[in-house]
Symmetry: C5
Subunit: 230 residues, 5 copies
């Protein structure tokens, strides 16, 4: 049967067990709550709750971390830096590593996806069958992040400098031609589309070269999509 | 008359009935609260409330599920993974299935809608009547998701490989020509527009072929809309 | 002097009057609280508050509705379906009608606004005065929603099938030429811009027809704006 | 030393002073709390707090207004209409004027900014110096709102009808050529960019007129930015 | 051992230490709480908590500031102006400086990034290797903000007026050609992409000049990205 501890953290009340508070021996909480004599020197509020002079709202996540030994913040959590400050205060090194590791593993940044496309025109009775045709999906951004997102589907052959993951490239492309698959990959890795641009090509005074489909040639366009991860 | 139970879940207080807590025999809550002797071994806080050492805020949805036997989360709910962790802790298998099933039934992903359009020009006194004219609405994305969204209005005849719902296609199109209906379908299925691109066509040194309306030809454009479901 | 009632709704405490709770005779609350003998059979929590085994947070809006007999939810309220479930539980038919009526009166959907425009070029010393010139604002979407938004400013003469408000049209246009007024109308009706596309026209091997301003002709473009109401 | 008043507003507890509650003689709060005999007839909850049967959450702003005699709502506040209802209930005319005045002073609406631009090409050894060149920034929207945003930098000379601030215009332009300054002005006045469109020009069968820079001519484009204030 | 102080701030309860409240000698809190005789004249609520007639919610940040002597607000915090009002009330000059300094150091505003690009076409067997090629990244906006974001990578040589950081320029460009690096710089400084425009070039009746790659020439386009910092 657990020993129940009532806490007053800056005015917000939490209830937990001694066991949870003593999870990690290196923390300030362990320092404060290990041994009855330690606890006796702790300040208490007027209702007898142990008192901690810190932000009451963020302590929710401190406690969650101690219970589950894993960091699971709400999506779109907006107090990450504030939480880091609390974890520092409580010397919760393991939690701090999680907060920072999370950011290191998914650094913010931008990747641009572009494609030069046109339409495939039928030559016969199927003349109305005109699908999007794209020759290659270009990938631009920081090398390490492009690799993280696209893995094996990334073709680096045109920019084979295997060092410098921090450099930027605009010479990577994908091994497949499904732009939606590229979008899904980006989305799965936490990138969100921030902008998109389309542009057509200019006509020319010259007749198109032999073998070039005039109609396909006219519909040439370049679409570019910018993705950003916060 | 229900037996009222007061709970202290990590410091947040809930009131419910024993009946609600015992809804589902396979859960940890049933284990803990079934039989007075079980309850007697439970920890209580200083006010006599039964104590659970878990996140207090998320327990709201655990309780809602037990009351209604149905999962109804707020729109844009941002603690799904955290809630899953709680449901796992309480061995709420049925609720867990709902959380996961919800995601399986509506997997995140991207669908692109494109159309090649121009304008319809009047031939006579109605020369100013120029409406958007589009020949075909193209649908690109993962096969299973395109089918989920567009159902019977999807024409798969140009990419009839009936297996592999996980493959990507860019050869589906719609049986109708109302782009707004396609947008509504996507919106109804939880997709949100993430970007849009427009591009015109290039002129040509050659005279247009006979039978082609020169003006309509000049206004040819390709508009592409990217939809993403989180 | 009102009779004050203290409630414990799933752990959240509310205070209100008996009068407010008995507003509507058809509700479960009336059933529960009408007559002292009814109230006597109600469960109470340890502080003597009447206990209701429902979600505590959403009860705020139930109470608001009973006080004012009108539904006024926060903008961007994300628990509409959850609230509906509560209203159903409490048999608050009038409130349920409001929630549903609200949705019926403003169904979600998409409207596209497009215009073919160019610039007006001065002929003389005012040659630098070049304003946006647009001949017609096109409106595409579901007929009923187009009518709701644009009312008397909508010209339906080119698609005069007066039945079928559920059908889609791309042949409506506006009686005026102020695109910003159209945007304002859409915004006033809860539509938000989701995307926008621009495209220019192609040049032609042929000389422009007599009477056509060459420069104006070159600047022809089509801009399309997609609006969505959630 | 202030006289402290404890309130129970629909279940939410507030503490304030009698002085704060009596700030404004025309309000319902003054009516209720002026004079000990008035207060004696007020309902109290079981803890002796004065009871008001209204929404507890929104009362925070009522109290803030009484303390500071100024309205300062959170950015993106989503319960404005609900708050208005509360202010009406409490006959807080001055606060009501603030809520409404705020809206009147910053009416929602749309302004479009467009520019016809190209690039400035160097004539000599500096041939690579090619900056964005734009001749004029066009402003379209409702006259009063354009004036509010752009003030002295607005040139109305081409649409000099000095009446009718409610009419729409597409013939205003700016006295300067810095599009970013226009964006900053709009942003400062609460407008947010909702969409943007770009389009190029068409080539022509004719040779460009003498004195026209061919390259600059080719890069002509029109970019249009739509701003909306909620 | 700290002296614990229980506060009732407008109805919200906080617990802190006397030490925290007396951090800063110039504040109203120091004035109120320094010396037992001062505290004795303070109003107390019915539970003996010291009473402050101010907004209870925002006091969380006042207390955080006193504890850590540093301002760390949640991302996307929407009550900055309201908090400023509270800091003014409590004469927390140092905190006020932080709130204002924060805004001065990162003033809101707009920066536009544009590039004229095309594609690099292979001349031989590598004919399908066509990457995005851009000659120069243009930077437009207020001089001081451009400098803050791009630092050493900014080339100001074409607009070398070294005074007037408040003036706007459209003649800055970057020393490198990686548009994604520019996006990352902007993102790191709190700018978010608000819109994007693409446009192609017009064809010409004239044959391209010798030495110009016809195909590359046809694909010329201008993409423009608008970033805004709130």
């Amino acid at each position: 049967m657990p020993e129940i501890v009532e806490l007053n953290v800056g005015g917000v009340h939490y209830t937990t067990t001694l066991n949870t508070l003593l999870q990690d021996k290196t923390t300030l909480l362990h320092e404060l709550f290990a041994g009855p004599e330690g606890r006796d020197t702790l300040a208490k509020d007027s209702k007898g709750r142990y008192f901690l002079d810190r932000d009451g709202v963020l302590f929710r996540y401190i406690l969650d971390y101690l219970r589950d030994k894993a960091l699971q913040l709400p999506e779109g959590f907006r107090e990450r830096q504030r939480l880091q400050r609390e974890a520092e205060h409580f010397k919760l090194t393991a939690m701090l590593d999680c907060i920072k590791g999370d950011r290191d593993a998914r650094p913010p940044g931008c990747i641009t996806i572009g494609y030069r496309g046109s339409f495939q025109f039928g030559k016969d009775g199927l003349a109305d069958v005109k699908f999007r045709k794209l020759s290659r999906i270009l990938v631009c951004g920081r090398v390490a992040q492009c690799r993280e997102v696209f893995g094996d589907t990334l073709n680096e052959s045109r920019d084979p400098d295997h060092g410098g993951p921090d450099r930027y490239t605009s010479r990577f492309f994908l091994k497949h031609c499904f732009i939606e698959q590229a979008f899904d990959n980006l989305h799965d890795h936490g990138y969100r589309m921030a902008g998109s641009c389309g542009s057509g090509t200019a006509g020319s005074a010259a007749e198109p070269k032999p073998g070039v489909d005039t109609e396909e040639n006219r519909w040439n366009h370049y679409n570019e999509f910018v993705f950003i991860r916060d």
